[in-house]
Symmetry: C2
Subunit: 669 residues, 2 copies
């Protein structure tokens, strides 16, 4: 189903004209499953990104690339799509999930465009919408949405990126003039890496410590004009260009500083906290900490969309690399003919588990989008659902962004020298998506949050079980650990496997076995860490911090395992939804490849704990090899089922040129 916008072959495929053999997997069904819950929105977004005006050009200087992307925003606005998440009064339908789907797809045109659009609509305008109230919507939102005001989201400072609660910019209320006075008191307090800030921004949503009546009320957001119409900084405002970056050079990131900059009292985005004319502070959320995290909660949409965008990048890279691997030949085989790269088992091992991982991430992303949609449309917006969403997004974002970088890099190398040419896109995709691993929440910090949540949940379970119950849980774990340690788990596995390699393989393909292993990877790790972190008599805060440090690495690894467990479950639900038997069998095979690579990566962890028997452990690698070989004939149709067209790939080695060269060379022999 490689489809081309020119021939309209998408339509053909959609209509099922390219039916597979009746007994084989139906790739149209897989295509639908991979497109997910917003299929039409997604396809419409992809159709838009076929417009060459939106595509990245390879040899522009930074200033020209920036100007090009700025102009592209207008094209997006003209399409109307970017208005959709906003309220009806602003041209929208409130389709929170669909909006992110459309953003994800911008990566195929130019990741800079995705991020620039994200800055303008997803951060700047969205902050006005979500953190502001009626006044701000009336006065600032339409200009932001309609690109009459370009704006920055000025949260991060040079000195504080991950720990935003500690930013040093202040907004001090002056009741005499009913204004806030914004200051960045030292160099580390300058706002930094702010998209739009170097050139385009005329205003910014500035995050600052609100001070009124001599008291700090924590971080709040303010609408602050920063430049005049001609682009000159307003009095008291200054800044610097962040200059060229490793990627995303279509986005003009910059630094901003403020010295006694005054904005009217009304410019405080006051949904979660307001200041009366006399300076009295009030908030619907009494706890400063909770208030802060509620405000930060609006950032979750950035994380959700970055996870999806990373998947998009990985899919493009895989389709380019696998198309080439199916056409490219090198070294004569036993029969004398040169072998197709993808027939080399090592090449399969390099690309196919990554294809399986991207399928897993895709099914996970759809569930994440649905969860996001339910919260942000108010359909199911509770404290608990928000916390669960934030936790899910943190795990998914870390996993998807790292996975994309790893996948794109492997694809690049698998294409050899051709993979290094700009015309084949890998390098630029990697360079652009690189920062996705650390912005909108550094992956390590996000995973630490996920890990802490795992610890909290574990503590809650113990507490809910009560004294005796908790003792039973701990004893049960101790018993399980002792049994595993004594080899009883391994013994049970040997018995279950009938002592044979085939039996071990059968067990490992059983979803129940897979789920138990993936779950144990999380739960046993948490149970190992938790006791050390329990406060007790004579345990100082410093002791606890030191112990936390000792277990930080293990906790973060447990959080990654949690992210993968979620992926496995999402994939398995997708398998279970599939009703066509051969199609379901293929999806199950790919899910198994995903599961086994995850288990193989942590093989040592399982074995030292006796959670895998040696024979079953040995079967993991063998089985993975065998399943990858079984997946190989389906690799190209599978990657094509993502549904991207030549106009999205735009890679010389995926254009069919290699097949033509091979045919010409073979004919000449």
């Amino acid at each position: 189903m490689t489809v081309d916008s020119v021939t309209g072959a998408t339509m053909t495929a959609e209509a099922g004209a390219t039916r597979p053999p009746a007994d084989g997997p139906d790739f149209d069904r897989i295509h639908d499953a991979l497109l997910g819950s917003w299929k039409d929105v997604r396809l419409a977004a992809r159709a838009r990104t076929l417009d060459p005006a939106l595509h990245r050009r390879d040899d522009l200087l930074v200033a020209d690339h920036r100007a090009r992307v700025t102009a592209q925003l207008q094209v997006l606005l003209d399409s109307g799509a970017v208005r959709l998440p906003f309220p009806e009064a602003f041209g929208g339908t409130g389709d929170a999930g669909g909006n992110l789907v459309a953003f994800e797809e911008l990566v195929t045109a130019d990741p800079s465009l995705q991020i620039k659009a994200g800055v303008q609509w997803g951060l700047f305008a969205a902050a006005i919408l979500h953190l502001g109230t009626r006044y701000h919507h009336d006065h600032f939102l339409a200009d932001a949405v309609e690109l009459r005001t370009f704006g920055g989201f000025a949260m991060t400072e040079t000195g504080h990126g991950s720990d935003v609660a500690s930013i040093a910019t202040t907004a001090t209320y002056d009741p005499a003039t009913q204004e806030f006075v914004i200051d960045t008191p030292f160099r580390a307090a300058w706002k930094d890496y702010i998209g739009n800030a170097a050139v385009d921004a005329r205003a910014a949503v500035v995050f600052a410590q609100l001070v009124t009546k001599g008291e700090r009320q924590g971080v709040h957001a303010f609408f602050v004009p920063i430049r005049d119409e001609a682009g000159a900084f307003l009095p008291g405002v200054g800044g610097e260009d962040d200059g060229p970056k490793s990627g995303l050079n279509g986005v003009d990131n910059g630094r901003l500083h403020f010295t006694g900059v005054r904005v009217p009292r009304a410019n405080l985005l006051d949904r979660y906290g307001s200041v009366a004319p006399d300076g009295t502070y009030s908030s619907p959320i009494p706890s400063q900490g909770r208030r802060f995290f509620t405000m930060l909660g609006t950032l979750v949409q950035g994380r959700v969309s970055l996870a999806g965008a990373s998947n998009t990048g990985a899919k493009i890279a895989l389709q380019i690399a696998l198309t080439y691997a199916e056409q490219r030949r090198q070294f004569a085989g036993a029969a004398g003919d040169e072998e197709v790269l993808l027939d080399y088992p090592r090449h399969q091992r390099r690309l196919l588990p990554r294809l399986a991982a991207v399928c897993a991430a895709t099914f996970t992303q759809d569930e994440l989008l649905l969860a996001f949609h339910r919260v942000f449309t108010g359909e199911h917006d509770t404290d608990e659902s928000r916390q669960e969403l934030e936790n899910f997004a943190a795990a998914a974002k870390a996993e998807a962004t790292w996975n994309a970088l790893d996948t794109i890099q492997e694809c690049r190398e698998a294409a050899g020298g051709a993979g290094f040419l700009a015309e084949n896109r890998f390098g630029q995709l990697h360079a652009d998506l690189d920062v996705y691993a650390t912005f909108e929440g550094d992956n390590t910090v996000l995973l630490q949050l996920v890990g802490k949540r795992l610890l909290t949940d574990y503590g809650k379970r113990l507490k809910a079980a009560g004294g005796a119950g908790a003792a039973r849980i701990v004893a049960g774990q101790a018993l399980g650990a002792a049994a595993a340690s004594a080899g009883l788990t391994a013994l049970a596995q040997r018995v279950a496997d009938g002592g044979t390699a085939a039996g071990a393989a059968r067990s490992l393909r059983d979803p129940a076995t897979q789920e138990r292993l993936l779950q144990e990877r999380v739960e046993v790790a948490v149970a190992e860490i938790a006791p050390a972190l329990r406060p007790g008599p004579g345990v100082s805060a410093a002791d606890l911090a030191a112990r936390f440090g000792e277990h930080q690495h293990a906790l973060i690894e447990a959080a990654r395992a949690e992210a993968r467990l979620r992926q496995w479950r999402a994939f398995t639900r997708a398998v279970e939804r599939e009703t066509d038997a051969p199609t379901r069998a293929l999806l199950a095979l790919v899910r198994d490849v995903f599961a086994l690579q995850v288990i193989e990566r942590d093989l040592g962890w399982y074995l030292v704990r006796g959670l895998l028997s040696r024979s079953r452990g040995r079967a993991v690698t063998r089985l993975l090899d065998a399943l990858v070989a079984r997946m190989r004939p389906h690799a190209l149709p599978l990657v094509e089922a993502f549904g991207y067209e030549q106009g999205h790939l735009r890679a010389a080695i995926a254009s069919g040129a290699e097949a033509a060269r091979q045919a010409e060379a073979r004919a000449a022999r």
Copy 2:
């Protein structure tokens, strides 16, 4: 020992003015050890790369970057250094090893400069020197060395990169005119990715299938003029620009094609094969295969220098990231103060094992350079020493180039958003060094060669042992495997460890234990693979090829293990050479961190085979955590002992600016 060319602090450090406390490690000694056998050449090369005229600029279009690098070659030539590897008549001293040392260091200025210099002097001129004879030295070499003739090394074709023996360009001898006629018969036969070919090259060493008297004699090299002085292609020659690349855009890579291009008979570089006026072919090496590999042998210097250059890139990245990690603070700790990034155990885990790995690669590189020097100066140039050198270079190049990419990426992420700015260099270093993993021998192909050599050596050992001896070796292995499998090895380990975690840790720090484990990783893997690949009655070539495929992944992993074993041994020899006890202790600690990360990576492999007991396996991760914590206070002095100056780092976050910002912010509180 962060040293600055302006203050001359290098000299101070060299003179030992900054003596460490008497009981601590002596970092001047470590500095010397890391600089290796060509210390003076290396320092002189580094002094040259401080020249801003040689530095990469961040915002140049491809054409301007190319022009800048072309001009930089003249600066290098003026320094005289690039003449050193050539014979005396060409201004050289024949210092083969020192020449590569100087090349390695060019990476600090701009990897494009390293590669462009490598193309001109290391490939084009070196091919004339090594593949040509007196006539070619007299007629072509001086112009190549003195940059009067820019040239390409036209070996790779669009259709054949890794399998160069199958290139399709032909050079057909015409006795009537005593000329060779060069042809690229179809598109896949075009020369591709050829450095200098897009713009600068006026000539090329073209590799082609030599045909004379209607017979193919295999691949040979020809000196072929391709452009006139004004830069227009000569008749019959054409080409294309490879266009922008993911990195190395200072090098003008291009494609070349030839249609009936005639060159005089004398233009065959005929050291390894010549054609008489009547077309009679002769060669000092009768076997076509061996002749080809002998010619290719001259490529080994490219691999050696890429390994070293990758280490240089990784060192720069680590010094930038570790300097920042020592100054940057984020999140308040238990005491209220914000914590230094490098005090986070996870941050240590991310950076310090990589620092240990780069130390290992550095000591390995020095041994590789010495081996290269002995062969290429003729000091010890035998078939066997050449084969060993090629094998060593293949393993070291694969390991060093991948390690550099992994290290630079981790450093980039560890520096967060700041790491994404061009001013901090990580992204460009990664983009430039990316292709080092696949050019001058694709790492996967190189490792497969190393793996095949392991199999051959194993077969030879069996054969040398004779029938009964071979049976004993195999039986011994079977016994060892059975003992391991039955848990006897593990039991023996438990006994040796006294059943305690401390005992296990002690064993794992024992170099003999480390070496045995690393060696078993190679030898057991090879012994597992070898039997399946033994030809026998009823085993067809196709069967063998299929079986080879089944074991390809395992063989390549065994080859990586071999590369790491070599690194471990080189590191251990460096430890043993050190006579100052505290310095030696620190080197041993870093070596242990290297060893344990290698073992941890393959933990599952060891455990399923019973080569590690569960308790010792569990001790691996704990011990690695503990050793990394012990290494932490030495991290900065250690990375500074690589000896690079601010003029090499040229990164804003390594300039001390972060420390100044932190001090200002803390003073303001």
